[in-house]
Symmetry: C2
């Protein structure tokens, strides 16, 4: 007989929720990749019905007795840690009263609705009043969550994607980047202007050939096609479940780079998913735990590996094979193409050097919004001022290229943006440690053998699941807590004066 | 305020079950068409979890109070009929005690397991003892169901797929077929032997070209690609939900006929599904109600339409286009190919003339098994005797080509086989009525215009949902109750001496 019957019941309960979320993931994947249009409303109803069921199972009062009883049970090691993760999730969930959760859902619906129209029409005046009630709900949620967890509001929001991390730790890191990055950007642009012109690849690049190329590269990166697949969609995503990861991308026949690089990014997420600790699947301990760490796994492939000369050497013959011989596909030119710096207004199209500044801009604004220092209608002016100061880009003509470009805030996702820059730091720090630990990595990669990357990451990160918070994970994987040092060193090496 | 709150609650309850079954259908479709192998066990667990949830919602004791209360409410017309269908389903479900349902599940699992191995090894001695416990469970279920519905055991099983139909009505119909069909088969074989040789199409037939051809023919038959799609799979099926019907087939590159004809069959099922009464979706009244009627819709396209000279005339240019010009694709030769009679051992490969005999053989055996007149080990001898007598085919060398060929009995599906022959009768009767009502049908079809078929079937059958039992449905659609007359007339016209 088990000595921990209450805990065991909680494990079964979490497993069941995991199973139902599996079906939700399949339905979502199908909706975004294969579903014919007339199926949409029935699918929406079916998924909503399952969402209700899952929410009922997740509700704080369910199994309250088991939580109470499990606290008295002899839980140890990973089991105790898993229970602690269950309790924290329950604490977060319980801090939001049902009425507030309902208000949030309505507010998100109204904001998304207004956004989808206003974005196309460049109509901030229509969007802002529809968005303001959601911002109010987010503020109230942050306060309540903060009260429950004894945290400042912004820290409380951050806790949901970065457990254990506080803005007092994030802000100085971002301030350092804000110090060294703008001058580096200037240097990079000057160097680029003085360099020999880049050769542009010549299209068209047929979708079928791009799909084959992406699958080859996914294979090279260790993606397990026995446990996942690549399909086409409107907006790229990684979905599915750890046992069966579904990537989906979109092919632009005039430019193969976005699909290729996007697929490398998603493959990073996917390999992490495919290699979470299998024995704990369905339990909080299986992770993922930190959004920055998840993002970091994607960036290791996309931003660390892809623009390396060694990788471009391995990629070059695949491009010749896929699209015919072109001088633009030679490794040197390819490396320069993937490192090209082009300051612009769109975050998702940004290069590795300007991307951090896009993130810093957003984090400053969301913190001010959550703290009540500014209101919704102050956002465009704050945006323009930072765009100019940080990126040297003038006021946007279109709000859709400004504060209305990302869906995060419209969906009530505040406190998530830091993960993108923290993830870039984590990726650079891991890659630097990996290069140190595997001295001939570049030689292996140049031959198309990227196995060492997964071999290094798997025991240190992927298999750790949710055992450690971000800093602890970085310490045990790289020997140091998270910092901007590796990111800075690498960007300076790639784009600095010495380059 | 509603005057029927209890009934309304039941409607909501059925709608929710329908929504969850939608997700189950998506997951099944994905499993059979796209899922990578390593996803299998997670998917099985997830689908099992949802099955448990659905069964809990369907369980007899759920909403018992609402059923009680709804009986006192002023229900009328379709609403009263819908409630009656709910009650009948509940009565059937409640007649099987939980312990028996569990025994059944275990017995099916064991039988399927043994079957999958024994079938390959031609090992009846291994299969029979694993199957016998399931036959015992089926007998007990049939008795209990019979007690609850005041029916004989075999009638009770039949009630689940053919509400309102009794073996006393089925047996004489089948006896008549057994009278006129064998002599007709002899005539057909004699006529075939004396005719000019058939031209065989020459392969290969690339899968992609077959897929395009099948989609063209589906479109010709009125399949709504906005509300469904065609994919490839191992074992063809029609799945999905009425709002989004998923067909899947398999392409044999040496022979295009099975995929083409199979797709026409599935398109019949699909159009029925796509056109069930939308306002009642999720409720029992939306149907489908009769398995024979469902099968009949498929056979109207597969067996009635496909081998008609007019259809072959429309099909011919599509074949030339898909696979290059061949004399075998000329309409006359095509018609003869699709009508070719070849007695054999395999039901699913049987032609229109021998197919009814395969069904009669099975129905005789399953009735004897359910009634306890024979035991599991008597089946092979009964099978061989009937194979010889009805089809003139000698004892099978392989049990996999004999009583182990179909999955129905291994899954505990007894009382379903009659639907295949009743469906053939229904299809012929509908098609005869349609030809009578639309005198220039053949001329339209020859031009590739098959719209009249759906226009005729939709109001008479598809939109009727579960309003009528099989005989009543046939009476209101064709003016007569179900009989073998139209089937006989058509087969005699196609294969008789006068031909």
């Amino acid at each position: 007989m088990s000595l921990t019957p209450a805990y065991d019941a909680l494990v079964v309960h979490h497993r069941r929720i995991h199973d139902l979320e599996h079906l939700q993931a399949v339905a979502t994947w199908d909706r975004l990749t294969h579903m014919p249009p007339a199926g949409a409303s029935a699918r929406a109803a079916a998924q909503a019905a399952l969402t209700v069921l899952i929410k009922q199972l997740q509700a704080g009062h369910v199994l309250a007795g088991q939580f109470e009883a499990a606290r008295q049970e002899p839980l140890q090691g990973d089991t105790a840690l898993n229970f602690a993760r269950m309790e924290q999730a329950r604490r977060i969930e319980a801090s939001i009263p049902e009425a507030l959760a309902e208000r949030r859902e309505l507010a998100v619906g109204a904001a998304m609705q207004a956004w989808s129209v206003a974005r196309q029409d460049n109509d901030w005046a229509r969007f802002a009043p529809a968005w303001a009630p959601l911002v109010a709900v987010v503020r109230e949620s942050a306060m309540r969550l903060g009260d429950a967890l004894s945290l400042q509001p912004m820290d409380a929001l951050l806790e949901r994607s970065e457990p254990g991390l506080r803005m007092a730790r994030v802000a100085p890191l971002f301030a350092r980047v804000q110090g060294w990055l703008p001058p580096l950007l200037e240097q990079a642009l000057a160097a680029q202007a003085g360099a020999a012109p880049l050769l542009e690849p010549v299209g068209p690049f047929p979708a079928a050939a791009q799909q084959r190329l992406c699958e080859q590269v996914m294979g090279m990166l260790g993606f397990d096609f026995n446990a996942g697949r690549l399909d086409t969609t409107q907006h790229p995503f990684t979905g599915g479940v750890p046992e069966d990861v579904r990537l989906a991308t979109r092919f632009d026949e005039t430019n193969f780079v976005p699909a290729l690089i996007g697929t490398m990014h998603e493959t990073g997420h996917a390999r992490y998913q495919q290699n979470l600790p299998r024995a704990w699947l369905g339990q909080p301990l299986a992770g993922p735990h930190s959004a920055a760490l998840h993002e970091g796994q994607a960036l290791i492939f996309e931003r660390q590996l892809a623009p390396e000369p060694a990788f471009c050497q391995a990629l070059s013959p695949l491009l010749h094979q896929a699209f015919g011989h072109q001088p633009a596909f030679e490794p040197d030119n390819l490396t320069r193409l993937l490192r090209r710096v082009r300051p612009g207004r769109i975050r998702v199209a940004a290069d590795e050097l300007t991307y951090p500044l896009h993130v810093i801009l957003r984090v400053e604004i969301e913190q001010a919004l959550v703290d009540g220092d500014i209101e919704v209608d102050d956002v465009p002016a704050w945006w323009n001022e930072r765009m100019q100061r940080l990126l040297g880009v003038g006021p946007q003509a279109l709000f859709s290229q400004g504060p209305m470009q990302d869906p995060h805030w419209v969906q009530g996702m505040f406190g998530y943006f830091p993960a993108y820059l923290l993830g870039a730091m984590a990726a650079a720090q891991c890659f630097a440690a990996l290069r140190r630990d595997v001295p001939d990595l570049q030689a292996q990669v140049a031959l198309g053998d990227c196995k060492a990357i997964g071999d290094w990451l798997s025991p240190r990160i992927w298999q750790q699941g949710a055992r450690h918070d971000l800093d602890a994970m970085m310490r045990q994987a790289t020997g140091e807590p998270l910092s901007d040092n590796a990111l800075r060193a690498q960007l300076e090496q790639r784009h600095g004066r010495s380059n």
